[in-house]
Amino acid sequence: MTDTVSLAPLRSAGPPARGSTGPWQRIFSGFGLAVLVLLALVTVAPIAYMLTTSLHSTDTAGSSWTLEQWGVLFQQPELLRAIGNSAMLCVLAIIVQSVVGALAGFAFGILRFPGSQVVLSLLIVMMLIPLQTYIIPEFVNVGRLGLVGNVPMTALIYAGTQMPFAVFILTNFFRSLPDELLESAVIDGASYPRAFISVLLPLARPALITLGVLTFIGVWNDLLVALLFLPDGDTHTVGVLLATVNSTRTFDINQVMATSLASAIPCFAVFLTFQRYLVTGLTAGIGK
């Protein structure tokens, strides 16, 4: 790119600009740092509170530190089962969304059948309807099929309701690829499915990772859908388990904070690993 060109004036202009720093600019800079530090403290404080609370127990409140809460964490069968359910939901939703979304992205972005762009516009408009608007009929419909409490069905709901967004991202991605990729594969005798799987799909990896990360966070942290569609104890997710902990008899703030922090560890890990994909997903649709 033009990095060297655009950075050159910055470098040459650096020293004089620093030299011209007046007292006002220094005050502004000091004030700015103070604001940043203060906001950082406010941001960290609740998390520090969670951590210290999780490292105490009700018997030793305020007095001594203990790893007791974290120690018993993984001896709780309900929590382990909930983690399993959440993980299963995430994996299934991501698989369905990636496969179905990539096929559609390929169809709308590259193959482009007659009328496809009209259908695509209609599909994208669906992104404007909030989930809550249609969640009640959805719940009744799924109930009629006898599939409330069914983990794969719930994963399908996550994937289906996010499908317009997935198709939007993947279509944009496939559109950015040169048409020659498909053409040359087809001339070489590959069928369209073959060309899709071996030539185009591997290139879509960044877009699929972006979607996967967003879906993982969305499903892992969701409450509403899981609360409605997985109401039984043995299908509870981590979110539902935590949200309903207030009403159970084993209510223990130290334990709840330890569980809360533990439940966020997968998200922290995903964030650290895939940070740049997340930014791509957040700003999707802006830089075209």
Binding site: S6, L7, A13, A17, W24, Q25, G32, L33, V35, L36, L39, A40, T43, P46, Y49, M50, T53, V99, L103, A104, A107, F108, L111, R112, P114, V119, L123, M126, I129, L131, Q132, T133, Y134, I136, P137, E138, G143, G160, M163, P164, D179, Y192, F196, N221, D222, L223, L224, G239, L242, A243, V256, S260, S263, A264, F268, F271, L282, T283, I286, G287
Partner: protein, 323 residues
């Protein structure tokens, strides 16, 4: 162009691409090209089908049902057509509903302030090369926490014997301490605070991405011309990152009205009274606690209209920006 009339339509639809079929072997033989083209279209339709099926069954159908049932008294099995009653008697004549709308309005109105803080933070970070990664990581920490976890934590923090009151007592401001989540307006303020706390990181990342697209030479030129601090932000930088600021506003507003069910559920359960109930929470309560699905469906339609209004702001400003 030597295309048959049957072809021209599909060629038109693909007009944003070069016309690669002109380079295909058998180009001169209309039949072969048409065969290839229609095979391509068939595969396209086939590949789009699963996504369309999922969206129609899991989104479009229930959305249309919601619209229909919003005109009925529906309890999940029986539905009697009652016209506009769910909207007139059930909502707009109901003081509870007016309070719920007011809560939504207050939450939406607080968003520009939240984005302004995030913009200030991003701007301050832009000038701090060395400490930037550290601060960004700190501000992003809460983003990994689910609304359930944030709601539980802030519920404890603002409870009558919680950390906030302990802190106020310790710094000699006991007079200010109160049972935050029991108060009509303090509970709403605490909820908004919890929301803003979590969303600062997302907005900082969004706006920092925008700031990174600003041409450094423009900033240098403005600096040499004597611009600095807030003047630089307002006159030089803001116009260049307008789209990012708008995106931050929309993303945050949409989240505030459609995505914080988990936060409300665990932090205040919509209370005391209706003081922290928003449309999305009222919809859940009305439908699943009171079993009034028809009324809940009407709330869902209102929520759709409100979120459409928020998004329409963006579409309008997007059109304006292109002019």
């Amino acid at each position: 162009m030597a295309t048959g009339s049957a072809m021209s339509k599909s060629v038109e639809l693909r007009n944003r691409r070069p016309k690669p079929e002109n380079r295909l072997p058998g180009n001169r033989f209309g039949g072969t090209r048409l065969g290839l083209q229609s095979r391509r279209s068939l595969w396209g339709m086939l590949f789009a089908l699963p996504a369309l099926l999922l969206v129609v069954l899991l989104l479009v159908l229930p959305a249309l049902q919601a619209l229909y049932y919003s005109f009925t008294s529906w309890d999940g099995t029986d539905a009697q057509w009652i016209g506009l009653q769910n909207y007139t008697n059930g909502l707009f004549a109901n003081p509870d509903f007016r309070r719920i709308l007011l809560n939504n309005a207050i939450i939406i109105a607080s968003v520009p302030l939240e984005v302004a803080v995030a913009l200030a933070v991003s701007y301050l970070l832009m000038m701090r090369r060395r400490s930037r990664p550290f601060f960004r990581a700190v501000f992003f920490l809460p983003v990994a926490l689910s609304w359930v976890v944030i709601g539980l934590t802030f519920g404890y923090l603002f409870s009558s014997r919680g950390a906030v009151n302990t802190l106020l007592d310790n710094i000699g401001l006991s007079a200010l301490s109160s049972d935050w989540l029991a108060g009509d307006w303090t509970s709403l303020a605490a909820l908004i605070l919890a929301f803003s706390w979590s969303y600062l990181g997302i907005n900082v990342v969004l706006l920092s991405t925008g700031l990174a697209t600003v041409d450094p030479s423009v900033i240098e030129a403005a600096r040499l011309d004597g611009a600095g601090g807030l003047g630089m932000l307002r006159l030089v930088i803001l116009p260049q990152i307008r789209r990012y600021v708008e995106l931050a506003l929309i993303v945050t507003m949409s989240a505030a009205i459609t995505q914080i069910f988990g936060l409300i559920y665990t932090m205040t359960a919509g209370g005391p009274g209706r003081s922290t109930t928003t449309l999305e929470y009222a919809l859940y309560q009305t439908s699943f606690a009171q079993g009034n699905f028809g009324q809940g469906a009407a709330l869902g339609i209102v929520l759709f209209v409100v979120s459409l209004a928020v998004t329409a702001l963006r579409i309008r400003s997007g059109v304006a920006a292109r002019d």
